[in-house]
């Protein structure tokens, strides 16, 4: 470190970074690496031929691993004063934890991508570049300590995603998805910015630390400024959009369905993690003084998305859409942690995010593998009898479904357990009760996915009592095997799913593995 700063000070005058203190640069090293990666991939894309090369994914993977490595390093160092760029950014363990989840998920996506892109015939180099750019945005978001940085992070996260959503240029659905995502996203960010503006106006600061201090004073004096509260409301709305919590989720199902499966994977997990990171930091930390004000509305949003997501998912017959609604429901569960706001709430939320990363990545990865030329095979009819053709895949998918449903033996169980206990400890009984009621509902569709995979039912388009249709069909899906997609996952993709499955189970049996990480965690929030 000392050498590094010495090197900087001795750097030639034209070297841009010489005026930047070294520890600031070290603090954001992962972001720098990813940023450099963006440029690197862009250049490499020009150099290497398009079709069927593995250079770009490899390069991307290396970049992500590098970022991950530095993040781990920072975790180990565990700087006493993690705030860098005078209060703009914090690489505290809270941020680093989120970084881990984001980077790991992205790695999985990168491994899945080549095969998928080849099958879908859209091997474009800029794909990886956009991916990395979005990751950079997420990393920024994880540690943002300033409203401006938050905004930058969100946009840097979103804009590449808009492009990725419409990445399959040729067919119409992705275009529609991208357009919806873009317009609604812009719409939402309008609210977000305006909310930030109001907060800034009422507190005179954009730094979260400063804002918190101001709010603490005003809260003590019991003077709750309506404009400030309005700002908080708009801020919440904007973030709720990003985490796709009902009733601000409307883009989610269509975008998930329209975007390529790999992008959906990335979107559904990494985006949610980053967005929730900032959500938690802002609400359970920065705006904590106003908890009495925002707690009930946030709780209501949580309940709405739990109910809406789970109930509508019951009516789905496409796994991607089903997972979209389940994602909305899961956002609701994590929202419990936000609404509780206390340390255990935050802990539980982080735990659930990690769990969510494993199970949801796995579930989407299965869909990715099943995809064929031109389309993603995620209709129930296409999944039926999967257990016959691909027992391993079907088994893993069942694991993910059970985990999302919150069964023991899987990481999902402890996720829910910690959230509920946090809610009860905080006296938020309604949240917990709605939580379990909706979990009960969620069983209906998660279990049905398993049922369909294991009993080769030809068509389950119709909703009414499909289980009765499942009736006569015997275990062998031979009837449907013909129509069924021949899964061409390839080794690496299968490995990813396997890892996700193993992780889901291992963490479900040894929750301590993650929880001990959360033990030492610290949140600089001001």
């Amino acid at each position: 470190m000392a050498e590094f700063s010495a090197f900087l000070s001795s750097a030639p005058p034209w070297f841009p970074l010489r005026f930047v203190p070294a520890r600031d640069l070290l603090g954001v090293l992962p972001i720098l690496i990813v940023g450099a990666g963006v440029v690197l991939v862009l250049l490499a894309d020009l150099a290497v031929p398009r079709r069927g090369n593995r250079v770009l994914p490899a390069l991307t993977g290396i970049v992500l691993l590098g970022a991950l490595g530095t993040a781990v390093g920072q975790w180990v160092v565990n700087a006493a004063h993690p705030i860098v760029f005078n209060g703009a950014y914090a690489n505290d363990r809270f941020a680093l934890f989120a970084d881990f989840v984001v980077l790991l998920t992205t790695l999985a996506v990168v491994v899945l991508s080549p095969g998928y892109l080849r099958r879908r015939g859209m091997e474009e180099g800029e794909y990886y570049m956009l991916l990395l750019a979005s990751v950079a945005g997420m990393l920024v978001l994880d540690g943002a300590l300033n409203l401006i940085v938050v905004f930058l992070g969100i946009e840097l996260l979103s804009i590449p995603l808009y492009v990725l959503a419409g990445f399959a240029r040729d067919d119409p659905l992705p275009q529609e998805a991208a357009m919806k995502y873009l317009l609604l996203g812009g719409f939402a960010s309008g609210f977000l910015v305006y909310g930030m503006a109001l907060i800034y106006g009422e507190t005179g600061h954009t730094g979260l630390v400063a804002i918190h201090n101001v709010l603490t004073q005003t809260a003590l004096r019991q003077q709750f400024d309506p404009l400030l509260l309005a700002g908080i409301a708009l801020l919440a709305v904007g973030l709720a959009f990003k985490v796709s919590a009902a009733p601000f989720h409307w883009w989610t199902p269509d975008v998930y369905q329209g975007s390529p499966a790999v992008v959906t994977t990335f979107m559904s997990v990494a985006t949610k993690v980053a967005a929730f990171a900032v959500f938690l930091r802002l609400f359970s930390a920065t705006l904590a003084p106003y908890r009495s004000e925002w707690q009930v509305p946030i709780a209501v949003v949580a309940i709405i998305s739990m109910v809406f997501g789970n109930v509508v998912a019951v009516a789905q017959t496409s796994v991607k859409r089903l997972l979209a609604y389940s994602g909305i429901a899961q956002a609701g569960y994590i929202m419990i942690g936000v609404a509780v706001g206390r340390p255990d709430g935050t802990q539980a939320a982080l735990y659930y995010l990690a769990a969510y990363a494993f199970m949801n990545t796995g579930a989407f990865a299965v869909i990715t593998i099943l995809s064929r030329r031109g389309e993603d095979c995620d209709r129930f009819s296409q999944l039926s009898g999967l257990a016959r053709r691909q027992p391993l895949l079907a088994g893993l998918m069942s694991v993910f479904m059970l985990s999302l449903a919150g069964f023991p033996l899987t990481v999902g169980f402890f996720g829910k357990f910690f959230l509920f206990s946090a809610a009860i400890h905080d006296g938020q009984l309604p949240l917990a009760i709605w939580g379990i009621l909706t979990s009960a509902v969620s069983l209906i569709y998660y279990l049905r996915v398993i049922l369909i995979m294991f009993s080769g039912v030809p068509e389950v388009e119709h909703e009414e009592d499909e289980t009765l249709h499942l009736a006569g069909v015997t275990m062998d899906g031979s009837a449907v095997a013909a129509r069924a997609p021949a899964a061409t996952g390839g080794m690496p993709a299968t490995a990813v799913i396997l890892l996700a499955g193993v992780g889901t189970l291992v963490l479900g049996i040894f929750p301590a593995l993650i929880y001990t990480l959360l033990q030492g965690i610290s949140v600089v929030h001001g």
């Binding site: 603490t216 809260a219 003590l220 930390a285 904590a288 003084p289 908890r291 009495s292 206390r342 340390p343 255990d344 935050t346 802990q347 059970l402 069964f407 023991p408 033996l409 169980f413 357990f417 910690f418 509920f420 206990s421 946090a422 009860i424 400890h425 917990a432 009760i433 379990i436 979990s439 009960a440 069983l443 209906i444 279990l447 049905r448 398993i450 049922l451 294991f454 009993s455 009592d465 289980t467 009765l468 499942l470 009736a471 006569g472 015997t474 275990m475 040894f510 929750p511 301590a512 929880y515 959360l518 033990q519 030492g520 965690i521 610290s522 949140v523 600089v524 929030h525 001001g526």
Partner: protein, 592 residues
């Protein structure tokens, strides 16, 4: 016992499942051998456990139930003691986000919140006079199931693996002494059961499977909340934050919940429910669904009538006991006062199940459904005995749990045999089969008699003690419940006579020869085959042995029964003697 026998008992089936995974699915013979061996070893181990447990002269005076949060309960003795405890730390948290917390209560007390209390789970295993018997029963039934499992069963390997996994789950539920661990096994056991249900059985299985899982889990989720609730309620009242069952049981001596508040309705004032009551109800709901008690039984007939025989042997035999087990182990010990408060309700539900199940069984035309409803009726007795909250009732309940496991398994095997031979489950289609299959008729007769509570067969002992226990609490309930015995005689005879007596009748067969031919060309024989005989023999033997000489079971269940009674009496609002039919001033209990 120097070595961790309980952990081993849990691991053996697990390793067996792993082993089976590497066996090629085509080698059905090998699979069956491995399966039988593993289950047999498990049975052997559980018998070792049994012997070792009985070798303990009598539970040593209540051991100190450890400490939690550094606050020790040395002053309290857990009224219920456990043997062969093994405890391994599972998750230990110091609770709060270290640097988060000071920031939150920065100077102002408006948001001055303490961090979360530490969460401690542990792999804490142990047994008492209640669970050892159920473990042995479980091991036996899984062995029996392994024996009756036909090698022609489709996807034999998958079936075997799932079977062993569910054995792990069941035994885990019976041995766990940590609420979280308990819930963990409780739910995890459902997963293999779900796959077993949707994979094998008649055409209604898919519906039955989802119905069963959603129904049971919906109930259990409330229990999950209640588990967390117990943790916090006990914690806030006693400062002991723990999920450790013995500690919690001991701590209940501190927890005060008097029905002080009342609300009035129609001019009468009723005691308002306090947290303990709600927690009790949440647990009770989960267990009532599992047992199942009327009216929470709608999953049962479908599940039982659509399942395959080997599956039903352990599903009906042991899984339904877990609910009753939970009532005794958790409701009585963790909520003594609520147990007394809700005693009439639960006894009422028990009696309702007895009569309702019996009546429904009387009207069924599908023999599997007759047995299913008979099971409901029998388990009603168990719950009735449990909530008599006295020694006789509990002893009866414990022994009746074992009995019911044996009887119901045997009944399903018998019914399955008829189904396999004549491809029908309609009572009306069959008749007079004693001519064609005399041995089967004889065995079935014994089983049916055990089912209707024939003396010198096992069920009589349990039902007698249960009724005696219930009679002390309220003669009226006991008398009404005893109507169930009469009805049991009726529907059992209806089934037995319908199948084996009267003019010979079978679908597509008029005279004896054609019946025999029919069965022979379907499964190669008409009367009992050696394997079926081997499967039924131990069950029938147990029926007779327990019926003629039940003393051993009682001798070692009575300590636990007495302990549970003591545990629940901590919360008794009224002296128990007031409820018995004895002259005032004399109490049934306490007269040594």
């Amino acid at each position: 016992m120097s070595w961790p026998i309980l952990a081993v008992i849990l691991l053996v089936p697990l390793c067996g499942a792993m082993l089976l995974l590497v066996v090629p699915g085509s080698r059905s013979g090998v699979i069956r051998v491995v399966l039988a061996t593993v289950t047999a070893v498990t049975l052997g181990l559980s018998c070792v456990l049994l012997v070792a447990f009985l070798a303990v002269p009598s539970p040593a005076s209540s051991r100190l139930t450890g400490t939690a949060n550094g606050q020790s309960l040395t002053t309290v003795h857990s009224p219920v003691t456990f043997q062969f405890q093994e405890q391994v730390n599972w998750l230990h948290t110091s609770g709060s986000l270290s640097r988060f917390q000071p920031a939150l209560n920065e100077g102002n007390n408006a948001f001055n919140q303490s961090g979360p209390p530490p969460i401690n789970f542990s792999f804490h295993l142990g047994v008492d006079g209640l669970s050892v018997w159920l473990i042995a029963l479980a091991a036996l039934l899984f062995l029996v199931a392994a024996v009756v499992l036909s090698r022609k069963e489709p996807h034999l390997k998958a079936f075997a693996v799932l079977m062993l996994l569910s054995e792990v789950g069941v035994i885990g539920v019976l041995t766990s002494l940590d609420l979280v661990l308990f819930y963990f096994f409780w739910e995890a056991a459902l997963i293999p059961l779900y796959f077993l249900m949707l994979g094998w059985g008649d055409e209604r299985r898919g519906r039955a499977a989802i119905k069963f899982i959603v129904y049971t889990v919906a109930g259990s989720l409330f229990m999950l909340l209640a588990i967390i609730g117990v943790y916090f309620v006990t914690g806030t009242q006693t400062g002991v934050y723990t999920f450790d069952v013995p500690t919690l049981i001991a701590a209940q001596s501190f927890v005060q919940t008097i029905h002080s508040t009342t609300f009035s309705l129609f001019g009468h004032s009723f005691p308002a429910l306090n947290p303990q009551d709600w927690l009790f109800l949440a647990f009770a709901l989960a267990f009532a669904i599992k047992v199942p008690l009327v009216p929470f039984h709608s999953w049962l007939p479908d599940a039982y009538s659509s399942g395959r025989t080997p599956f039903l042997v352990f599903f009906a035999g042991i899984v339904s006991k877990l609910g009753a087990f939970g009532f005794i182990r958790y409701n009585l010990t963790l909520f003594p006062q609520a147990s007394h408060f809700f005693q009439p309700l639960l006894m009422g539900l028990g009696v309702a199940s007895i009569l309702y199940g019996a009546l429904a069984a009387l009207a069924q035309s599908d023999i599997k459904r007759i047995v299913a409803y008979a099971s409901i009726s029998h388990l009603g007795f168990v719950v009735l005995g449990i909530f008599a909250l006295n020694v006789d009732g509990l002893n009866g309940a414990i022994i009746q749990m074992v009995n019911h496991g044996v009887v119901i398994a045997a009944l399903f095997i018998c019914v399955g045999i008829f189904e396999a031979r004549f491809a029908t489950r309609r009572l009306a289609d069959l008749g007079g089969l004693a001519k064609a299959m005399p041995v089967m008729a004889g065995v079935f007769l014994v089983v049916a008699l055990a089912g209707l509570g024939m003396p010198l067969l096992n069920s009589f002992v349990g039902e007698f003690l249960i009724l005696l226990g219930a009679f002390q609490v309220s003669p009226a309930w006991a008398v009404i419940a005893s109507l169930g015995v009469i009805l049991a005689c009726w529907y059992m005879l209806r089934m037995y006579q319908g199948l084996t007596q009267g003019p010979l009748r079978a679908p597509g067969a008029s005279n004896e020869e054609s019946v025999v031919q029919l069965a022979v060309q379907r499964i190669g024989r008409v009367d009992l085959g050696p394997i079926e005989l081997v499967a039924l023999a131990p069950l029938v033997a147990l029926m007779v042995v327990i019926g003629v000489y039940p003393a051993p079971i009682i001798r070692y269940s009575r300590f636990s029964a007495a302990q549970y009674v003591q545990a629940v009496d901590r919360g008794s609002l009224a002296k128990t003697s007031d409820r018995t039919v004895t002259p005032p001033g004399s109490s049934y209990r306490g007269v040594g």
